[in-house]
């Protein structure tokens, strides 16, 4: 510490060697009572998490290299890559990988865009702002299965759903009456999820907007910046972290999305995503090896996305320190 702050007067001289605390042996650290007193409160939670989340995942990786099918219990062999080949060559499974990506990207980007627009509106001063904010939160507070049921039966139903009912009300008896779920299955799922996730994005982005320093915004106004210049040069740079954080969290949840697919279409019409497919592989086909390989692929996909976005969370994390 002292060597770091005291600059040597002669810059050409070799930098003084940092006085390094000698590494303590394992035995010394093991015997360090104070150190253990600090660690002990952490241990129960840490042990619990390792046992409950890491061990099952390791088991999943191991099983993914077997041809374990519960229907043929005598033929289990380890060391095959067949499951991974199957995921990418089987047309149905490849489609579920593709739909998982499509669903995640679409829902996250559209909800983020809507969320930013609505957050900007809600950040203004208008009558009943609190009431509108409360209304915006509501979709996120409905239990996901209940929300999917609501959309399936009360909104999308071709005969008595609200959408077709409103079409009849506006255009009369000859109004078009589409069967939303069978005609537009993917859009039906995306629509429901965007409705549920836009509020989440709005809330995080609104928190970001409200943390903008007011005096800086005022200075920009005094300096004659117009609304667009203020938005592009001051608001957006400040909001970047919040946009990335909202996108990251949204992605993690949507990539694992099961409830809507299960409820709205049960994977029919090309809407089976990977989580739903895994559930089926496990439940119906009892093909444990294949289900595990699919699980491993979901994790790899998540890690790729998370690696890009993790830096954002790490910056938030350091400043909040």
């Amino acid at each position: 510490m002292a060597t770091a702050t005291a600059t040597p007067p002669d810059q050409t001289a070799p930098a003084p060697k940092k006085t390094k605390v000698p590494e303590r042996s394992f035995g010394e650290r093991w015997g360090d009572k104070k150190g253990w007193a600090r660690r002990v409160p952490l241990l129960p939670a840490l042990a619990f998490i390792v046992i409950m989340t890491q061990l099952p995942f390791v088991a999943t990786i191991l099983v993914s290299f077997t041809n374990w099918n519960a229907n043929y219990p005598d033929e289990i062999k380890f060391g095959t890559l067949q499951n991974f080949v199957t995921v990418f060559t089987d047309a149905g499974l490849r489609q579920s990988v593709f739909f998982t990506i499509l669903l995640t990207v679409t829902v996250v980007l559209v909800s983020l865009a809507f969320g930013l627009g609505i957050a900007l509106l809600l950040n203004r001063n208008f009558i009943g702002r609190g009431a509108v904010r409360t209304m915006m939160i509501a979709p996120f507070l409905v239990v996901p299965v209940a929300a999917a049921l609501l959309w399936k039966h009360a909104m999308y139903n071709p005969e008595y759903g609200l959408f077709n009912g409103l079409l009849t009300q506006v255009f009369g008896a000859s109004a078009p009456q589409p069967d939303w779920i069978t005609d537009f299955p993917r859009l039906a799922i995306m629509g429901e999820l965007i409705w549920q996730w836009t509020p989440f994005m709005t809330l995080i982005l609104l928190a970001g907007l409200q943390s903008r320093p007011g005096d800086v915004m005022e200075a920009a106004q005094v300096d004659g910046a117009n609304a667009w210049q203020t938005f592009a040069n001051m608001t957006m740079p400040h909001m970047r972290r919040y946009l990335e954080l909202a996108g990251l969290l949204g992605t993690i949840y949507i990539i694992q999305q099961f409830d809507s697919v299960f409820t709205l279409t049960a994977g029919a019409y090309g809407t089976a995503n990977l989580p739903y497919t895994i559930y089926q592989t496990l439940y119906n086909a009892q093909d444990y090896g294949l289900a595990s390989a699919q699980g491993v692929i979901v994790v790899i996909g998540t890690i790729i996305i998370a690696t890009f976005a993790l830096r954002t969370v790490s910056s938030l994390f350091e400043e909040g320190n």
């Binding site: 002990v40 840490l46 001063n125 106004q221 969290l249 699980g295 994790v299």
Partner: protein, 301 residues
């Protein structure tokens, strides 16, 4: 001198408020401002409307619920709820609701009991490499539940805890513990260290420090964290649907029995959806601000 020091912070706070208000006022009142306010109202109503429609339909008779165009002004009735709770047609929702309450409440309590000491160790007296530990906790949230589903299924089948609510409690505890540690650490980080040093000098041990200093100070934070954990547990479907069937069935799994039901029972479907969502709706509306903070892992303040 002392008065100047004391007055100074409050003055700057007032100035900040004034400047914030000025920025907002400049944008208020113009024609554009009124239009944007109206636009916000329209969007808010569009987003809340399905929830309102769910509530309204749940209060209509089956006949009035299944009309095209919709009959918004039909007389209200509690028949949908009587039908849902009365179990005159199909299974009673009470066992699943009680299972959900058990799983959510018990796992939340266990999460909080495990997370408070962990968050304390990670913030007040940082252990070596504490950032690594925090990232490890966070990284478990990047691990999709489906990736561990199979081993959990096999283990449950082997040791005979398939369809057992205690197993679900343990899983939900593991699911929410990382979030709780993150959130509570962010609340603890706001407490001045001197407070703990004083307690330590006075000879208070870990348990006493936690009980008489930390818990009282961060109790709003603990409440917020507990709320988030409760909501996530209450909403969970994939694990419950795979690992429970009859005895330990939770409310979301029970709701899936309505998936194939046709609109003949639209009022009952809406009553079911409303009844199961009600605890979360009430809790969420009551703690809107805390919800945002928790959902963003305590990182956005």
């Amino acid at each position: 001198m002392t008065t100047a020091l004391a007055a100074n912070p409050s003055k700057t706070a007032a100035e900040k408020r004034a400047s914030n208000a000025r920025v907002r006022n400049n944008r208020r009142g113009s024609k554009g401002g009124i239009f944007l306010g109206l636009l916000a109202w329209v969007i808010g109503i569009i987003f809340v409307f399905p929830v309102f429609y769910m509530l309204l339909t749940s209060l209509h008779s089956e006949f009035d619920a299944a009309t095209n165009p919709p009959s918004f002004f039909a007389p209200l009735t509690l028949d949908g709820y009587r039908e849902f709770f009365g179990a005159s047609s199909g299974a009673s929702p009470w066992p699943p609701l009680i299972n959900s309450a058990t799983a959510s409440i018990v796992s939340t309590i266990v999460v909080i009991l495990l997370a408070i000491p962990a968050a304390y160790a990670l913030s007040v007296k940082p252990v070596e490499k504490w950032t690594d530990v925090m990232f490890f906790f966070l990284s478990t949230k990047f691990l999709p539940a489906v990736a561990g589903l199979l081993p959990l299924y096999i283990i449950a089948k082997t040791i005979g805890v398939l369809d057992n609510i205690n197993f679900i409690v343990i899983l939900y505890t593991a699911m929410n513990l990382p979030i709780a540690v993150w959130m509570l650490r962010s609340f603890l980080a706001d407490i001045p260290v001197e407070l703990f040093e004083a307690a330590s000098i006075d000879g208070a041990g870990l348990i006493r420090t936690l009980r008489s200093i930390i818990v009282p100070i961060i109790s709003p934070g603990i409440a917020a964290t507990a709320l988030i954990c409760f909501i996530f547990s209450w909403n969970e479907l994939l694990l419950a649907n795979t690992l429970t069937s009859i005895v330990a069935q939770t409310a979301p799994v029970f709701l899936t029995s309505f998936v194939t039901s046709q609109g003949l029972f639209l009022a009952k479907v809406c009553a079911a959806a409303t009844a199961v969502s009600l605890p979360v709706l009430i809790a969420g509306f009551a703690a809107q601000d805390k919800l945002v903070q928790g959902l963003s892992l305590g990182a956005v303040k």
